[in-house]
Amino acid sequence: MTAPLTPVVDLDRIVVTYGGGPFRRDGFQAVKGISLQIAPGETVGLVGESGSGKTTLGRVCLGLQPPSAGEMRFCGEAFGALRQRRGQLSVVLQHPEWALNPRLKCGRSVEEPLVVLGTPAEERRARVAAMLENVGLGASFAERFPGQLSGGQRQRVAIARALITEPRFIVFDEAVSALDVSVQAQVLNLVRELQDQHGFGALFISHDLAATRYISHRIAVMYQGEFVEVAEAARFYGEPEHPYSRKLMAAIG
């Protein structure tokens, strides 16, 4: 750990415009010139209401949504194609019922990123077993189908899949929002522990400020495509600066 670390993700004045074209009303700017750096081992929380552009920004960070303007660098280099970034980044999404392919055994879901990387089968099996242990499930879960698991267990399998290639960056998009309070805490703690172990950078997208500030180091509050406040998470245990952030705080009580 010398000098300032190269950020895993470096967003430079990103703009995303949807729509436009014949027979359509004017384009809609979902993201309006946003800059953000995420350091290795850092979790940045991204809160905002539906339609604020936070999911779009998450897609930009994953290379799924090419920005209309601005630049995205990954570990100091231009992002390039997703295929070149195999194994370097991953995602955990909302809706545990759709997080895993219902037709595949969990083991096959978890090993898929390794298959894509071309890891030999023997090594894959060992790493899948180890990773399932790591997320607190046990290797026997490799043989189960998602339909036999609870929402929290499925989200754990999804996290195992996200971590199996030891990626440098993970996006959690509403990853705990659909879970019950008691299970939510299990998953939040798991992510915190795993980050201490593996040191990935993370973007934690959520509409739930309480969960976000618990898990994040820094928080960016997004409103209508722009950041209205970016501050240390601790700030959101006190009195944040922007009036909109304070409105969000009111919901926690």
Binding site: L64, W98, T165
Partner: protein, 277 residues
């Protein structure tokens, strides 16, 4: 999957049983002691049904029952071949269209629109004009009529899946589009394809028999249920058993397919309804 089917009600079971019975009959029919479908003068001409000739005889004195059994096989086989080929093509096109979106999607969707705009029997007339009547024309007509159905259903279901977590996760992991489609999308849309397959099969059977009825499908001396009806309709008033027997068997065959389709659909996405009190 089959265990789900048997949990269904009487009507569904009846349809599935009938379907299996008819397919078996068509398969083993030639080996059953029903008589030779091609033997002219096996009995007197146009005799009404009797123990010896359960469906009577036709104008050449051929026993009609073995001809109907032969017709079942021809109708099922021809429609099934056409529909299965179409299902494979339609599923691939629909997945590509729904998954890639953009230009590929426009191309496939517009192509489906164009095919859909041709009324099936009219398309049959046109294709018969170009290719001449016969089985290949019939297969082509069935494909033209059912391809848009597969494309539309598969495209819609794929679109619904494309934003699901496991698809996005696979893309982020760097999986190739082909891999995503084959490993993640196909196994999850196969149910919808099967439902559509049964409906397309029933449409295919209707088209095949209608074309044969018009003399554009299976050509003599071979028989399908439609051509038997055509043959019988010339003697409708004084030998109605020809039309009645082949018509009843044809309707029963299509109904067995439809009921099976309903059963599969109800098993995959049950519609519950509720009371209004």
């Amino acid at each position: 999957m089959f265990s789900i089917l048997w949990r269904l009600d009487r009507l569904s079971r009846f349809g599935l049983g009938l379907l299996i019975f008819l397919i078996l009959l068509g398969l083993v029919g030639p080996h059953l002691p029903l008589g030779d479908p091609m033997r002219i003068g096996a009995g007197p001409r146009l005799t009404p049904p009797s123990w010896q000739f359960p469906f009577g005889t036709d104008e050449l004195g051929r026993s009609f029952l073995p001809r109907v059994v032969d017709g079942i096989r021809a109708t099922f086989l021809l429609s099934a071949v056409a529909v299965i080929i179409t299902a494979v093509i339609g599923t691939l096109l629909g997945m590509v269209s729904g998954f890639f979106g953009g230009f590929a999607d426009q191309l496939v969707a517009r192509g489906a629109d164009i095919l859909f705009a041709f009324p099936a029997i009219l398309a049959g007339l046109l294709i018969a004009a170009v290719m001449g009547p016969g089985q290949i024309s019939a297969i082509a007509v069935i494909s033209v009529a059912t391809l848009p159905l597969f494309i539309r259903v598969v495209r819609a279901v794929t679109l619904g899946l494309a934003s699901r977590g496991f698809i996005v996760a696979a893309q982020v992991a760097g999986a190739s589009p082909w891999r995503v489609m084959m490993v993640h999308i196909l196994p999850n849309i196969i149910g919808a394809v099967i439902v559509q397959l049964t409906y397309a099969l029933s449409i295919g059977m209707i088209i095949e028999s209608a074309l044969s009825f018009l003399g554009l499908g299976v050509q003599p001396p071979y028989a399908s249920l439609g051509s038997l009806l055509r043959q019988g309709s010339a003697y409708l008033t004084f030998a109605p058993w020809l039309v009645l027997s082949s018509g009843a068997v044809l309707s029963a065959a299509i109904m067995s397919v439809n009921l099976t389709g309903d059963a599969v659909r109800d098993a995959l996405e049950p519609l519950k309804g509720r009371s209004l009190t």
